[in-house]
């Protein structure tokens, strides 16, 4: 097991805690859903075996496929914002909660190869039409103008492949253009072929950041050119610009000062906001809003447009906290500042603030809604098509926001809940059957009481006080802290000592594209302490992650194929 996907708490199928480290990260080790009293999640977590943390150990590199959003961003960088990026592309695969992790494990299917070919020629046709040629470095004088082909293809290939192509590679691209030029008689038609090669090459579709021996020869680091890519994909969600490639090729990005200067420049650029949005879309599961099923007979306000508005509200609020204010991200759980369009305003029952588009509004001080847990986005994603779901909302908070590990529900168990009835009108009444069943109680005791705090928001996030005629009780507790309602739950999370370290872990996972290994726990712990000491500001965290050895060093690739390891199954 060379690359254990240690989720800090590793739990056997029998519910025995094998190893629990770094409790300061707030990891919660839950016994599997077995019979017995619910675990006490207050101050006394299950008594773990605390082991000293091993020193930092770099993780082997892995080939990483561009995500769909990275492909689109990079194509627009190359050819201009007007390019329509084809929608039929290999789908992203989420692993460990992130497309960025899936991108390091999957490949490209035969259908994906077809789609990338079609997309490459589609893009080439767009950018070689008379009105699309603004990116060309020169205008070919004829179909066999090799010099101009070279002048066009050299900088294009460098941006597309995130490195200067070798002389052979460039010669090959020019030769392809000449061949096509002789065959077709038109230089612009001819250029479509080298452009299509660039966009289908594994040098474009995959990030191969393999490292080099470090300065003192004791280990391996990412090369300065590779660091240009890593920085750009992490902080901009696209490839490096020419200036960053220059810095990479000048060797500046393997020094702390050079890396810091480059990262600060990137963070000050608007593309950093787009990248942070992309992180939170993956982290909070907001991609589900692209295609969410809601029964319109139950939820009359539901529509695909409402789902997209809800995502935009959350992303604008995040950008406001992180970039406009550069303040403690935990205020996200309590802030009354939000961004609504007319659709959301109607759902929330607040003034719209603007006829068109979004406007910043303050939610009422005495209202039921504040912070992320009052956003329609997370409320509708973590719900059913016809109802809310206290269990799903509780699981979302546990897993995404607190980094707790919840074993999957056991198979071969009858999971049916009692029908809604006069005796059990509310979700709380129905979910009480979980507590009564010892097989379910263990896990549901840590999900349902949190999620029940959000029951005053229905399956699309509309406020309500009753369900089936009965008054909804929105009280609950999270890790032993009692709360009155959703707003108090938000305050409890903002004050929780688990939320900050959990976000650090997720940012680290996203940035490095793999699940944390045991040799990285101490470093993540250190980053979490820095995050707290710097006021929980995300921009500062992003900079710290860039400067961390976890982002800059790499182990040699394994000689054996270790991907199909089954660790975690136990």
């Amino acid at each position: 097991m060379k690359r254990p996907s240690l989720a800090i708490a590793r739990i056997s199928a029998r519910g025995r805690v094998l190893a629990v480290a770094a409790l300061s990260l707030g990891a919660l080790a839950l016994p599997a859903c077995e019979e017995g009293p619910p675990p006490d999640l207050g101050a006394a977590a299950p008594a773990p075996t605390v082991q000293p943390l091993p020193p930092f150990e770099a993780v082997p590199a892995s080939l990483t496929r561009l995500t769909r959003s990275q492909y689109g961003n990079l194509v627009r960088d190359l050819f201009g914002a007007g390019v329509v990026v084809p929608a039929r592309l290999e789908p992203d695969v989420a692993q460990a909660g992130f497309f960025s992790v899936g991108a390091g494990r999957t490949s490209i299917s035969p259908r994906g190869v077809e789609q990338y070919e079609a997309a490459a020629f589609d893009i080439a046709a767009q950018v070689l039409r008379p009105e699309g040629r603004g990116w060309l470095a020169c205008t070919p004088s004829g179909p066999e103008d090799a010099a101009c082909y070279r002048e066009i293809l050299a900088p294009l290939t460098r941006r597309a492949w995130r490195r200067t192509p070798t002389a052979d590679e460039l010669d090959g691209l020019v030769a392809l253009a000449l061949d096509a030029g002789r065959t077709l008689g038109d230089p612009f038609e001819a250029l479509a072929f080298p452009v299509a090669q660039l966009l289908q090459s594994p040098h474009f579709l995959f990030r191969a950041e393999l490292g080099e021996p470090d300065a003192d020869g004791t280990g391996r680091r990412y090369s300065s050119v590779e660091m240009a890519s890593r920085l750009a994909f992490f902080l901009w969600n696209t490839g490096p610009d020419a200036a960053l490639l220059d810095a990479g090729e000048a060797g500046e990005l393997v020094t702390e000062a050079g890396l810091r200067a480059a990262a600060e420049r990137l963070l000050a650029d608007p593309r950093a906001e787009a990248a942070v949005r992309n992180f939170f879309v993956e982290h909070l599961g907001l991609m589900a809003l692209d295609d969410l099923t809601k029964d319109p007979t139950v939820f009359v306000h539901a529509s695909p447009d409402l789902a997209l508005s809800a995502r935009e509200e959350t992303l604008r609020t995040l950008a406001h906290v992180i970039f406009d204010l550069d303040t403690d991200v935990r205020t996200l759980f309590t802030t009354r500042t939000t961004f609504v369009d007319r659709r959301l305003a109607a759902l929330y029952g607040v003034p719209a603030g603007a006829q068109e588009g979004f406007a910043q509004v303050e939610l009422p001080a005495d209202g039921p809604r504040a912070g992320l847990l009052g956003h329609a986005s997370v409320l509708m994603v973590n719900a059913h098509a016809v109802s809310s779901s206290a269990t799903r909302r509780g699981a979302f908070i546990r897993k995404a926001l607190l980094c707790d590990v919840i074993p999957p529900p056991p198979a071969d168990v009858d999971t049916s809940l009692p029908e809604p009835s006069g005796e059990r009108p509310t979700m709380r009444d129905r979910l009480s059957s979980h507590a009564a069943n010892p097989t379910c109680a263990g896990c549901h005791a840590i999900m349902d009481p949190i999620g029940l705090g959000l029951e005053q928001f229905d399956g699309i996030g509309r406020f309500r006080t009753t369900e089936a005629g009965a008054t909804i009780d929105p009280t609950g507790d999270v890790d032993g802290v009692f709360f009155e309602d959703a707003r108090a739950l938000g305050e409890a999370l903002a004050a929780s000592d688990k939320v900050g370290p959990c976000l650090v872990k997720r940012v680290y996972r996203y940035a490095t594209g793999h699940e944390e290994t045991l040799g990285e726990i101490a470093e993540i712990d250190r980053l979490a302490q820095r995050f707290a000491s710097q006021g929980h500001r995300l921009q500062a965290l992003l900079l710290d992650v860039v400067l961390s050895p976890g982002f800059r060093t790499v182990a040699a690739a394994a000689d054996t194929d270790e991907t199909p390891s089954g660790e975690g199954a136990l």
Binding site: L63, P110, A557, D559
Partner: protein, 452 residues
């Protein structure tokens, strides 16, 4: 029923050998496109018996299991009584068989996915803690495509009816094959630019050579990159290369005269989109468009292997008339679950439509369905409990007489469900020694459904 002769692959001869025999000294070279093997020098088809026709394999998959009390026929053997959930199959009853009482033995750590992956690969999932998983081995459709896929333009096709599906077809770990869920996209792929109908002229296109040159260059890039990678990444890049080679082969065929397949016609283009109606997906309309396209795709021999994912494991699709999503219903609906039953009847109705479309294509002395086998199954036995016992398995088509149809076989001893994929691989002409891994591994098929 076709009597097996020494000419079939199970008799020890490959089809190529067989055809060489049939054609005698006719000029058949290894380099010829495989379809031409079925035609004589003047281009007319041989009498289309099963010896000369390709066999095809289809996988039909639906989510959230069954209701065994309404699924398992009450009696066994030939002429079995159709159970309530199979009533939509009445018109095809002599062409289907039911296998009940078998068990998926590969463990159940990830509800639904353990069943889907365990049955279709015969191997336990690779799990990575929590609910992370990948299939550990190629699924049956890909095992078959690896053997027969190079004969056709597409080595396999994966389609789905519900949007947004994670794959159930895998070429290996972390190598899922995503489903095409838009009939228009399937039409474009199969019957768009690259398709030539029988009788149509192929126009010379110099750009095709250049497209192949591009792919050659891409393969060169990949080969140079591969040399610098570790073993795991080399495997992943190889998967990419396989796809590029497939595509290059497909482009090379674009300039060949199309085979004269009697049942092959260019279909009408389907609707560009099937938007939800009242918040519910148009599963029936999409299924029928997709089924019609798939039947013609096979009739035109564009592929011989497909997977057809009606909806994704754990799907919570809102079906017409249902009060909540499918998955939620399987867990929350009380009693005998009439709403779940109604959904299963709709799914079986749509399966029946697909099978009917395949059966409507006349090929030689039978129909397309007679020359193939469709395996229909799900991600668990009973949705409410995710059990893997008494797995739901329906077979349609005799695969050129290799399989018994019109029978219900009920395992008396909870036999390993992997025996079914083993038998189907053999019926398709493969000669696997085993199928599956660990507890799922078998070296025997299910003789009760194999034609003697």
């Amino acid at each position: 029923m076709i009597i097996k002769t020494p000419g079939t692959t199970r008799g020890g001869l490959t089809r190529r050998t067989l055809l060489r025999g049939l054609l005698g000294s006719a000029a058949v070279t290894v380099g010829l496109p495989p379809l031409e093997r079925f035609f004589n020098e003047s281009g007319t088809a041989y009498a289309a018996t099963c010896e000369a026709l390709p066999r095809r394999f289809g996988l039909f998959f639906w989510a959230n299991g069954s209701l065994p009390e309404f699924w398992v026929p009450p009696d066994t053997g030939a002429g079995f009584t159709l159970p309530p959930l199979l009533e939509p199959m009445a018109a095809l009853r002599e062409k289907i068989s039911v296998v009940s009482g078998t068990k998926v033995l590969t463990g159940n750590p990830v509800a639904h996915w353990s069943g889907a992956g365990g049955f279709l690969t015969g191997a336990p999932l690779i799990t990575r803690g929590g609910e992370e998983y990948t299939f550990a081995a190629p699924t049956l459709d890909q095992v078959i495509a690896n053997e027969v896929g190079s004969a056709t333009r597409f080595r396999s096709l994966e389609v789905g009816i519900e949007r947004g599906q994670p794959p159930i077809s895998y070429s290996g770990p972390d190598a899922g094959n995503p489903s095409e869920t838009s009939p228009a996209a399937l039409f474009d792929r199969v019957f768009g630019g690259g398709f030539v109908a029988p009788g149509e002229q192929v126009e010379a296109d110099p750009k095709l050579r250049l497209r192949r040159s591009v792919l050659d260059a891409v393969m060169g890039d990949a080969a140079r990159l591969k040399a610098r990678l570790g073993a795991g990444d080399q495997r992943r890049l190889d998967q990419h290369l396989t796809g590029i080679r497939d595509l290059e082969r497909r482009i090379a065929r674009l300039q060949e005269a199309p085979p004269d397949l009697a049942a092959c016609v260019r279909p009408e283009a389907p609707l560009a989109a099937y938007p939800d109606e009242a918040g519910r997906p148009q599963l029936q309309a999409i299924n029928r468009a997709m089924a019609d396209l798939m039947a013609l795709t096979l009739a035109c021999d564009q592929t011989r292997v497909f997977s057809y994912q009606f909806h994704r494991p754990v799907s919570n699709a809102l079906f017409p008339g249902a009060s909540m999503g499918h998955h939620q219903l399987t867990h929350d609906e009380a009693g005998s679950q009439p709403e779940v039953k109604a959904i299963l009847l709709q799914i079986m109705g749509e399966l029946s439509y697909l099978l009917g479309a395949l059966d409507a294509v006349q090929e030689g002395d039978g129909t397309l369905l007679d020359h193939m086998v469709v395996l229909a199954t799900s991600d668990c036995s009973r949705g409410r409990t995710h059990t893997l016992e008494d797995y739901p398995i329906l077979l349609a088509g005799s695969c050129c007489g290799e399989l018994r149809t019109g029978v219900h076989y009920r395992s008396p001893s909870s036999e390993n469900a992997s025996r079914v994929p083993m038998t189907l691989a053999r019926a398709m002409g493969l000669r696997p020694l085993t199928f599956g891994a660990a507890e799922g591994e078998v070296s025997e098929g299910l003789s009760a459904i194999e034609a003697g």
